[in-house]
């Protein structure tokens, strides 16, 4: 009973405030720069996962090339806020510009393809994710090809220069994540969000209820892409450079596995899933490798098989717990809707087998 009360107690704004307070004091407690650095990188992936969650989790559209929008956001910042062309737009403005550009590309890609069936969309986004980094690589007179664009502008906040200290970036990322969570929550509960979920569950029925499905899907695509614009600017400014190999297909699948693990459609789940996988990537696998090496005297490099592990996570979770670790209630009901049918079909099959049909 006490446990239940604690759960109730932590639900809603009170729990959020506690988590927020903990996040605010982390840099004061943990003074290890590399840890804060990790949290900033992980934060960028939280933003990406939140954005992809709008497309896959809310609207049920499988986007397999999400890293392309991340690339577009990052390159927009790199080109408009660096010595590359001598343009120095302040980062605060770039957040709006880059997410706008990413959103426009979302519309450009979505407009011709969203009227098609869902699986065609998956393959088109897969192709898009492949050619965007390729295009940045090919246009080397503007992007320096494989070398990428470096010495990007560092943020200046009322005269305070961010420099190479990760702590200000940490707080910047925190602000962005809080904003993104608020936006995602409001979208989910809005008329548009309910339209997305209706489309996700049954597109035909949604269309018959008077929802303009193409417009709703297009807005999911554009809004999801704009989140990755934010992530792109923040990530590129902290790293100080962009290069085409940061946005490979692997990145899209990495973000997808965060969603699948955490629970598609659930904001808390997606944030947790993304933090878990980021730490797996950065800490747990290297630790496991050195543990096997030092203690068990086995030379197994787990970091080499990280993508194998993400693939296994995706398949296992989809097979055995498709709603993820922290499910959204609606999504769970939907994903298990087929179960009774399946068991009925199995029973039927048994009947046939017995009858020798």
């Amino acid at each position: 009973m006490a446990r239940l009360n604690l759960r109730e107690y932590l639900k809603g704004p009170r729990g959020g405030a506690l988590v927020m307070a903990a996040c605010l004091v982390i840099p004061f407690i943990d003074r290890n720069g590399s840890h804060i650095n990790f949290l900033v990188d992980a934060g960028a992936f939280v933003l990406l996962a939140l954005g992809l969650n709008i497309v896959i989790g809310f609207a049920g559209l499988l986007d397999l090339g999400y890293a392309a929008f991340f690339a577009i956001g990052s390159y927009a910042f790199a080109m408009l806020s660096s010595p590359q062309f001598g343009i120095h737009i302040p980062i605060w403005l770039m957040f709006f510009i880059a997410s706008g550009i990413a959103g426009i590309f979302g519309i450009l890609l979505g407009a011709p393809t969203l009227r098609l069936r869902g699986d065609y969309l998956a393959i088109v986004t897969l192709g898009f994710g492949e050619i965007v980094p390729q295009t940045f690589l090919n246009l080397s007179q503007y992007t320096n090809g494989p070398n990428g664009i470096s010495s990007l502008d560092q943020p200046v906040f009322f005269g305070f220069r961010f420099g190479f200290n990760p702590v200000p970036y940490y707080y910047l990322m925190l602000v962005l994540i809080v904003l993104a969570i608020l936006v995602a929550r409001n979208l989910r509960d809005s008329r548009l969000g309910r339209a997305w979920m209706a489309i996700r569950e049954d597109e035909l029925a949604a269309a018959h209820m008077g929802i303009n499905t193409t417009a709703a899907k297009l807005s999911a695509f554009a809004l999801g892409a704009s989140f990755s614009g934010l992530a792109g600017v923040a990530y590129a400014s902290k790293l100080g450079l962009v290069s085409p190999d940061q946005f490979k297909f692997n990145v899209s699948v990495f973000i997808l596995s965060m969603l699948v693990l955490g629970g598609m459609g659930n904001i808390t789940g997606v944030v947790v899933g993304s933090l878990v996988l980021s730490s797996l990537d950065r800490f747990i696998l290297p630790q496991l490798t050195s543990f096997f090496h030092d203690v068990l005297h086995l030379n197994i490099d787990f970091t080499n098989s990280r993508f194998l592990i993400y693939g296994v996570i995706i398949v296992l979770v989809m097979l055995f717990r498709p709603e993820g670790l922290i499910p959204s209630r609606q999504r769970k009901a939907e994903l298990h809707a087929g179960d009774s049918d399946a068991s009925a079909a199995a029973a039927e099959q048994q009947l046939y087998n017995k009858a020798g049909v």
Partner: protein, 304 residues
């Protein structure tokens, strides 16, 4: 003009490989309406299995006479068998459970399976391209000006066309082929007619993946290298070929494969090889917008 004709020859042989992969995509999509993302990686696996069989046979250099036929048959058979079984295994493990689940679920596991296969191959043979022994003598068969046709190129096209004709005959003339078509049309009704749909679907994966294994063998011979992630780009192009020809249509997959091969060869020659992927992808988007049923496909209404 010679350059153009030579690229036509190259494009057609390249297209033979895409056509073989596209056949598997189109069969699987035709029967369970799933884009099997792992299919491209099964193709890449085909090259690796061919490598392994060649190593087992101790083949390093050119082989002649009857031994050549033996090596080709053994390598091809090994590659087809291994890939076919992997295909069946993928269906059993990752797709069968989700046959009645929402559309998104099997698509996501398909991507996961593709990733698993790719990384297993990377762990097996490392990240850099592995050379495949050139055991087939490669004389130039035809020579006119600067245009030449090599034995390898003829081999690819002949193999692809023979496979397609055999597959078409199998699907339209045999009892099992009829069961496949029935399952594709209406799974429940097929089951009520006494067709074992699990076996039928597994068989579809077996044949489709064996064809990908053929393509893997051929591409190992043709390019002389095998690399773990070759399946990604080739799979995307082969899928484009299947959509271009009309998904679910066997002759269409073949036609689409040859067209995509030609487009890629001509782009590489006259624009730049860096843009070949971009051009092929634009073709995919254009086909989906203007003629989603493909060149030979019939337009199907959405199943409700």
């Amino acid at each position: 003009m010679d350059v153009f004709l030579q690229q036509i020859v190259n494009g057609i042989s390249l297209g033979g490989i895409y056509a073989l992969i596209a056949l598997g995509y189109t069969m699987v999509y035709g029967i369970i309406e799933l884009i099997n993302f792992a299919h491209g990686d099964v193709y890449a696996l085909g090259s690796f299995v061919s490598l392994a069989v060649l190593a087992l046979l101790g083949v390093q250099d050119e082989v002649h006479g009857a031994a050549l036929i033996g090596v080709i048959v053994l390598t091809l058979a090994g590659s087809m068998l291994a890939c076919g079984l992997v295909g069946v295994l993928i269906e059993r493990l990752a797709y069968r459970r989700l046959r009645n689940a929402p559309r998104l679920a099997p698509l996501i596991t398909a991507i996961g399976m593709s990733f698993i296969l790719q990384n297993v191959m990377q762990l097996w043979k490392g990240p850099s391209p592995v050379p495949v022994p050139q055991f087939i003598p490669n004389p130039t068969l035809f020579h006119s000006g600067a245009v030449e046709i090599q034995l390898k190129q003829v081999l690819v096209v002949v193999l692809a066309v023979v496979m397609m004709i055999a597959l078409q005959a199998f699907v339209t003339r045999t009892r099992v082929g009829k069961a496949m078509r029935a399952t594709a049309q209406d799974r429940d009704a097929a089951q009520l007619m006494g067709i074992n749909i699990n076996t039928t679907i597994a068989l579809t994966f077996l044949i489709g993946s064996a064809l990908a294994g053929t393509a893997g063998f051929v591409s190992g011979v043709y390019y002389g290298t095998a690399v773990f992630n070759a399946g990604f780009a080739a799979g995307l192009k082969a899928f484009t070929a299947a959509v271009l020809g009309g998904i679910g249509n066997i002759a269409g997959a073949m036609l689409g494969g040859f067209l995509i091969g030609l487009i890629e060869a001509l782009t590489t020659q006259f624009i730049s090889d860096q843009w070949a992927n971009v051009v092929v992808f634009s073709v995919l988007v254009a086909v989906l917008i203007f003629r989603p049923s493909g060149l030979l496909g019939e337009s199907l209404p959405n199943k409700v």
